[in-house]
């Protein structure tokens, strides 16, 4: 578990896209706090505070402290929305959870070390599953699950059942699902440079047959009309 972060939040009445955009321009980050048997509360966070905390373990499933009107509450970060372009924070979801009740969460999986199959045999380490579902108390939620892959040779794989996690954490993902595998290097031949006429190659029409018939009928109809005009 990472060290607990603290955010000072203000309850906001202005809701909606336009108000949220105005808030972001003025250095705020819109957020929401919800939970079981609790009416959702819209919040405003300070952008600088959020940015600073991002260096100290701000990630989904982290337990943080929120101070609203000098009243601290321990909450779980449910979702963090960031702009893919500017990397600015768009919105944060906080979930008020009962710390004594187990919850389900998706935890990212990371590899440690370099596999023997990659280092000595020239294989490729395939990271097939990036997240595993676990069930545990909110206080026991790990930031990530680290898996040692150093012993993997070409053709070997690590399944969900092979991953060792703390006794307090229960793995819910299918135990047979493959998480890491080392594959043999692909011998892919470089295709020859495209011929000039390939650029102008046309794809086939899905309903070409039906269309052709229609076009044929249309042309016949047009020629009939012309003949009628001449007469």
């Amino acid at each position: 578990m990472s060290t607990e972060l603290t955010f000072n939040a203000v309850v906001r009445d202005e809701k909606g896209t336009a108000n949220s955009r105005r808030m972001r321009r003025s250095g705020g980050v819109p957020a929401i706090l919800y939970g079981k048997k609790k009416t959702p509360v819209s919040l405003k966070l300070d952008e600088i505070e959020v940015k600073k905390s991002s260096r100290h373990g701000l990630h989904p499933n982290a337990l943080v402290k929120i101070v609203i009107d000098s009243k601290p509450t321990t909450v779980l970060i449910k979702e963090i929305q960031k702009s893919p372009i500017s990397n600015k924070y768009i919105h944060i979801d906080f979930n008020e959870v009962d710390l004594a009740v187990k919850i389900k969460a998706m935890i990212p999986v990371e590899s440690i070390g370099e596999a023997k199959g990659v280092k000595e045999q020239g294989g490729v380490l395939e990271h097939i599953l990036h997240e595993l579902e676990v069930e545990c108390l909110p206080t026991e939620l790990p930031e990530k699950i680290e898996v040692d892959v150093t012993e993997l040779l070409i053709g070997d794989s690590i399944h969900a059942k092979d991953i060792k996690v703390s006794d307090k954490i229960e793995l819910l993902s299918d135990p047979e699902v493959t998480v890491f595998a080392v594959a043999a290097p692909k011998v892919e031949e470089e295709p020859e440079p495209a011929a000039e006429d390939e650029e102008s190659a046309e794809p086939e029409l899905v309903d070409q047959k039906g269309k052709k018939d229609e076009e044929g009928e249309g042309e016949e109809g047009a020629s009939d009309k012309k003949e009628a005009k001449k007469e």
Partner: protein, 138 residues
């Protein structure tokens, strides 16, 4: 090999809209590293192919690569010195509609330094500005 669909329902399309940010394909779905578009464009099949070759040559076919975009939009163009009218022109090239935030290539099974280098080479082949993204930096 030219990148274009094998079968289409209609031969020509209208121009469509390139407004807004990428709503799909805007996160790393398969690999560990990738390049993200920072601008909008119609990316031609040959540009995607050139970038793919640049990556493959640099990683020397060691890792695994995913191409997340496909040129499925026919773009027509009238020849030079042709008057307006007389119907829609013939298809000139096939393009993928790229909006800011779209992941174009993904890479896995290579060290970060090599991935960065390969993606920079690929980005040089593309008509827009791109940025390197990785799962660790998110």
């Amino acid at each position: 090999m030219a990148l274009l669909p094998s079968k289409v329902k209609y031969r020509k399309q209208q121009r469509g809209s390139r407004k807004g940010l990428a709503k799909s394909g805007n996160f790393l779905a398969f690999g560990e590293y990738g390049i993200m578009a920072l601008d909008r464009c119609w990316m031609r099949g040959n540009q995607i192919e050139a970038a793919r070759i640049a990556i493959n040559r640099n990683i020397k076919r060691r890792g695994k690569m995913w191409i997340r975009v496909f040129p499925d939009k026919p773009i027509s163009k009238k020849p030079a010195e042709v008057r307006m009218g007389k119907g829609k022109a013939a298809v000139d090239f096939w393009a993928a509609v790229i909006k800011p935030g779209r992941i174009i290539f993904e890479l896995e099974g290579v060290p970060e330094g090599l991935a960065r280098e390969s993606m920079a080479l690929a980005a040089a082949k593309l008509p827009i500005k791109c940025k390197f993204v990785s799962r660790h930096s998110e």
